[in-house]
Symmetry: C2
Subunit: 92 residues, 2 copies
């Protein structure tokens, strides 16, 4: 799965974590991977709170954080969390 | 601006806050608006940390939190933060 996703254009990195932020698989180096593992809990927690704010049980499907140059997608699944890092393709 | 955005298909609400989470304008009721005002600081903070993680000064452009039924977009600008709430259009 990671190799297939990593081959998409603009994808800089693909990582899979458990819900505690422990890396299961990653296409990036250990330092970068561990950094993202440390970010997961807060971001997913904020996302879940927003989801639940609408309706109890309203399941969080994805969080996308876009900056000028990059976009990070967090996809929480039952047993793991997928993070992909994309380069912003210049639309001009 | 808010009226124009609010007329888009699937938009349930549009709100504008200052960076302290104080509502400037909103198409939603006070309770709902104040709730989102209280959520802003943590979410934008997480987003900025992610942006900065790549590169110092890497400006946060947008955060999108998608759940099964809704999507919330946070667009931080220099003087305000725009939040739009969208209904997930069923793609089937």
């Amino acid at each position: 799965m990671i190799n297939r996703i990593s081959r998409h254009k603009g994808i800089l990195g693909t990582m899979v974590f458990n819900h505690d932020g422990i890396a299961i698989k990653s296409s990036l180096n250990e330092t970068t991977t561990n950094f993202w593992g440390s970010q997961i809990k807060d971001i997913i927690k904020s996302g879940c709170e927003v989801g639940e704010a609408f309706e109890e049980g309203n399941i969080l499907a994805m969080i996308r954080i876009r900056s000028k140059k990059y976009e990070v997608c967090f996809v929480p699944e039952k047993d793991f969390i997928l993070i992909t890092i994309h380069e912003q393709v210049d639309e001009n």
